[in-house]
C-alpha cells in the first residue's frame, strides 16, 4: 500500500470505505445486511415485490481484498461483515471459553462474520479464505509469540448481530457515554 518493494507477502488491498447497512422488512421483521460504498448511506424505505425494507442500523466500515505480493493474486472479501473478538462475547458463551483457553498460549481468537443474503441466509466464506485472513493478520504481527486465530462462524454468531458485537463502528461515532454501553 505504501509503494516500494513489499516486505510482507500479504497485504490488505483495494480498501474501500463505506457503510454496513442492516435493513428490516416492515411486515415480517426479517433482517438482512449488505455493504454500501455510497458516500451517503440509503435511508428511505423501498418496496421489493410485496415487501417493504427499511433501514434499521448503519455503521461506517470498509471492505477490502488481500493481495499476495508473490503471485500477484488479489482475493476479495466482499462477504465479510466484520471480525468479532472473543472477549466481546458473553463470558458464559462457548466462544469466550475457547478464547480464554487460547489466550493461555497467546492466541487471540476472532470470528469472521459474514453478511446475510436477501433471504436471510448467511453468506459463505470458504476455509481457504479464512486461512488467507489468518495469514495476512499474523504475518505482520510485531509482538513476540503472539498469534491471531480467525475462525469461521461455527457459533452462529451472525444471528446475534448487535451493537458492539462486531468490530464495526456501530454506535461509536458519538461521544455520548450512553451510546457506548452496547457491548455484549
Amino acid at each position: 500500500m505504501n509503494g516500494g518493494p513489499p516486505s510482507l507477502r500479504y497485504e490488505l488491498a483495494n480498501i474501500q470505505p463505506g457503510y454496513v447497512i442492516i435493513e428490516r422488512e416492515m411486515y415480517s421483521k426479517a433482517a438482512r445486511s449488505y455493504f454500501s460504498p455510497e458516500p451517503v448511506p440509503p435511508k428511505e424505505p423501498y418496496r421489493e415485490g410485496g415487501q417493504v425494507w427499511a433501514l434499521w442500523e448503519t455503521a461506517q466500515s470498509f471492505r477490502f481484498a488481500v493481495r499476495d505480493n508473490v503471485t500477484g493474486a488479489v482475493v476479495k472479501f466482499d462477504e465479510l461483515l466484520g471480525l468479532l473478538y472473543y472477549a466481546c462475547c458473553k463470558p458464559d458463551s462457548d466462544l469466550y471459553r475457547i478464547g480464554e483457553l487460547a489466550l493461555e498460549n497467546k492466541i487471540f481468537v476472532y470470528v469472521a462474520i459474514t453478511y446475510e443474503a436477501p433471504d436471510g441466509s448467511r453468506l459463505n466464506i470458504s476455509l481457504d479464505k479464512v486461512a488467507l485472513l489468518n495469514r495476512v493478520f499474523n504475518e505482520r504481527l510485531h509482538t513476540r509469540n503472539k498469534r491471531i486465530l480467525i475462525l469461521p462462524d461455527y457459533f452462529g454468531l451472525y444471528k446475534e448481530l448487535s451493537h458492539g458485537q462486531v468490530m464495526l463502528d456501530f454506535g461509536l461515532t458519538s461521544m455520548d457515554e450512553a451510546s457506548q454501553e452496547g457491548s455484549a
Binding site: 470505505p17 470498509f62 471480525l83 466481546c88 505482520r140 504481527l141 509482538t143 468490530m167 464495526l168 457491548s183
Partner: protein, 109 residues
C-alpha cells in the same frame, strides 16, 4: 522508542501495566474500521474511543499501546482485556492534537 519512555515524557497516567514494546509510529483515529484498515503494527494509537471494540481492533493489528485523550477512561472490563492483550492503556487530559504535538516533539515520526 519504548512505550515507557513516551509515558514518562508526556506524563501519561498509566491505566494498565506498561509492557516492554517499541513504538514504530503513531496513528490517530476514533474509528474501529479505520484502525484495522490503516494502522500499522507497533503503532501507538491516540483516540478518545474507550469501547471494547476499539481494543479488539487495536489487538488485531498489534497496536503497542493506546493513549486515551481528553481524560477518557474505559470500564474495568476493557482494562482487563487490554492487560490480557498486553496493550498498555494511558490516559491524559490533553487533546488529540496536543498529544500529537508532544509525540512529535518527543521524536516520533
Amino acid at each position: 522508542m519504548k512505550l515507557q519512555e513516551i509515558a514518562d515524557k508526556l506524563e501519561l497516567e498509566k491505566l494498565t501495566p506498561v509492557f516492554d514494546k517499541d513504538v514504530t509510529g503513531v496513528y490517530i483515529s476514533d474509528m474501529v474500521s479505520d484502525v484495522i484498515a490503516n494502522a500499522k503494527p507497533g503503532n501507538l494509537l491516540v483516540t478518545v474511543q474507550v469501547h471494547a471494540n476499539a481494543l479488539a481492533a487495536a489487538n488485531l493489528v498489534d497496536i503497542c499501546g493506546i493513549i486515551l485523550a481528553q481524560g477518557k477512561k474505559p470500564t474495568d472490563d476493557v482494562l482487563t482485556m487490554a492487560a490480557k492483550a498486553e496493550i498498555a492503556l494511558f490516559s491524559t487530559a490533553l487533546t488529540r492534537w496536543q498529544v500529537a504535538t508532544k509525540l512529535y516533539e518527543a521524536g516520533l515520526r
